[in-house]
Amino acid sequence: MADIQHLERIASQVRRDIVRMVHGVQSGHPGGSLGCADFFTALFFDVMDHHAQPFNMSGKGEDVFILSNGHISPVYYSCLARSGYFPVSELASFRKINSRLQGHPATHEHLPGIRVATGSLGQGLSVAVGIALAKKADGEDKHVFALCGDGELQEGQIWEAIMFAVHNRMDNLIITIDANGRQIDGDTKDIMGFGDLAPRFAAFGCEVMHMKGNDMQAVCDGLGKAKSLSGNGKPVVIVMETEMGYPVDFMVGSHEWHGIAPNDAQLESALSQLEETLGDY
């Protein structure tokens, strides 16, 4: 059983890391990062069987996570550092010159925990499919988790990957969609709305479920359910409802905080809403 309170405390620190990283360089994507903090925390500190040290690029014998919507790198980096992949102090180098923490995740600087460069949207899911395919071929019983944004679903390659995963009965693949309903230019339903997500994935042949993404108990229960649904011949898709910017009061309710940095006063206000639990970097 997951220790929900413990995970919530980690998530609070992860959220502090996110706003401090983005503030520190006055650049980056805080909104989606904050909204997905509960999901990342549950994955890295409870759900996944993974090994931070030594980092093994191939991911053989462990669960693997691929972030397809790479722009929410702050939450990814915080969880990687806080779960032991690299020093927490390195978070201070985010997006700065000579850093391993590139604006979007990359392997080029050899940051432990990153397995492919993502950020050009629509591509990470195919890579996750390839890793899951190799795990199947090698007879592994481990899972591959992928996260995609809901706006990212506008990229055609996503649906190529879904077709392939269904056709090849890739039931070791758990795809989460961050359904926050926002993207850079506005609300997803206004930019390129395609209605309910779940029936679309179901029509392709995926096993689909819903999950509330900003409730740690719901996230842990949901990911547990997803694992139990796996192994039945179909990829599992979780439509995860989150709120961009959650729970910082001035960041929620719009798309405005997709990709801008808080100023000093906004940082102070945000941090006052997020308890420091593990010590700031």
Partner: protein, 317 residues
């Protein structure tokens, strides 16, 4: 002029197919992906003998590149197969992000490159692929000249760790290189030593260069002919050594003048030893439907064009 014997006429794509088949039997970690062109790419033998390691991805090249990157991440050695047009231009960003920038050990194998694809026309006749692939940091770019060399190159790239673009073609062309050759990535091959002009050729233009060399010899011109099967990394040493003797060069390729072999050599020479160069390549134009030989002739990348370029460049010494 050294004599070369044509063993037979074979397509370079069949060389790829033969190499892949051999690799399939030699190495368990080699996997293959194809986007609905298994027959055209001559991947049938591998697919039949190793169905558990052959992935049909359908008409979805972008996904194919990503899945290949994932397979490589997990320790496999994936070979992707589709036409050169769909192996490069269509999926440039997937190759850039998921393969090249991510340093993935993916072998991008591309058939039907250039004008010699023939009747299908310019929609499918890519003449920019070498340039696009050459620009990507860390990408190795190979364009072998015949069946035997394509087979040898296919075997060689499996042993090399890193992303590779392997380009070959559709038509049957003279097969003249050693069937037992060992392919060395980045090592230019001397075909004929000469003193008057260096001819650097790649892919299907290598045989045309040999034909040109014979015509030049009859005219009393002693051409040095070098097969540049690896565009990147370029064998700078061999090229510089040759031009230091001949003092002028002709480049020949089935590609746009922009971005290909000629560009690479001009860049090298302008930096190290500025000398006159004539480029035999397609001059900023799309192709069209027609027979391979008709197209080579119409677009100025035939034997006669190499001869004329050699005569022109020698006057510029």
């Amino acid at each position: 002029m050294k004599k070369y014997t044509v063993q037979n006429e074979k397509d370079t794509r069949s060389g790829f197919g033969a190499g892949l088949e051999e690799l399939g039997n030699k190495r368990d970690d080699v996997v293959a992906l194809c986007a609905d062109l298994t027959g055209s790419l001559k991947m049938d033998a591998f697919a039949k003998q190793h169905p558990e390691r052959f992935y049909q991805v359908g008409i979805a090249e972008a996904n194919m590149m990503g899945v290949a990157a994932g397979l490589a991440t997990a320790g496999k050695v994936p070979f992707t197969g589709t036409f050169a047009n769909f192996s490069t231009g269509r999926v440039y960003d997937q190759i850039r992000q998921s393969i090249a920038y991510s340093g993935k050990n993916v072998k991008i194998c591309a058939s039907h490159a250039g004008l010699t694809l023939g009747e299908d026309g310019a929609t499918h006749q890519i003449l920019e692929d070498l340039g696009m692939m050459r620009m990507l940091p860390g990408m190795t770019v190979i364009n072998p000249c015949d069946f035997n060399q394509t087979k040898a190159a296919t075997l060689a790239i499996a042993d090399y760790e890193g992303p590779v673009y392997l380009r070959f073609g559709r038509p049957k062309v003279p097969n003249f290189t050693d069937p037992d050759q060992k392919f060395e990535i980045g090592k230019a091959l001397m075909l004929n030593e000469g003193a008057d002009v260096s001819i650097f050729a790649t892919g299907h233009l290598v045989w045309k260069a040999i034909e040109a060399g014979q015509i030049l010899a009859e005219k009393g011109i002693d051409a040095e002919i070098i097969n540049i099967h690896t565009i990147k990394p370029l064998d700078s040493e061999a090229i510089l050594k040759s031009v230091s003797k001949t003092r002028c060069a002709v480049t020949a390729e089935e590609h746009q003048m922009n971005g290909g072999l000629g560009d690479s050599i001009c860049q090298l020479l302008s930096r190290e030893n500025p000398l006159p160069v004539e480029m035999v390549a397609v001059n900023d134009s799309f192709g069209e439907s027609g027979k391979p030989n008709e197209l080579m002739s119409k677009y100025g990348i035939d034997t006669v064009n190499i001869v004329e370029a050699a005569e022109r460049v020698m006057k510029r010494k």
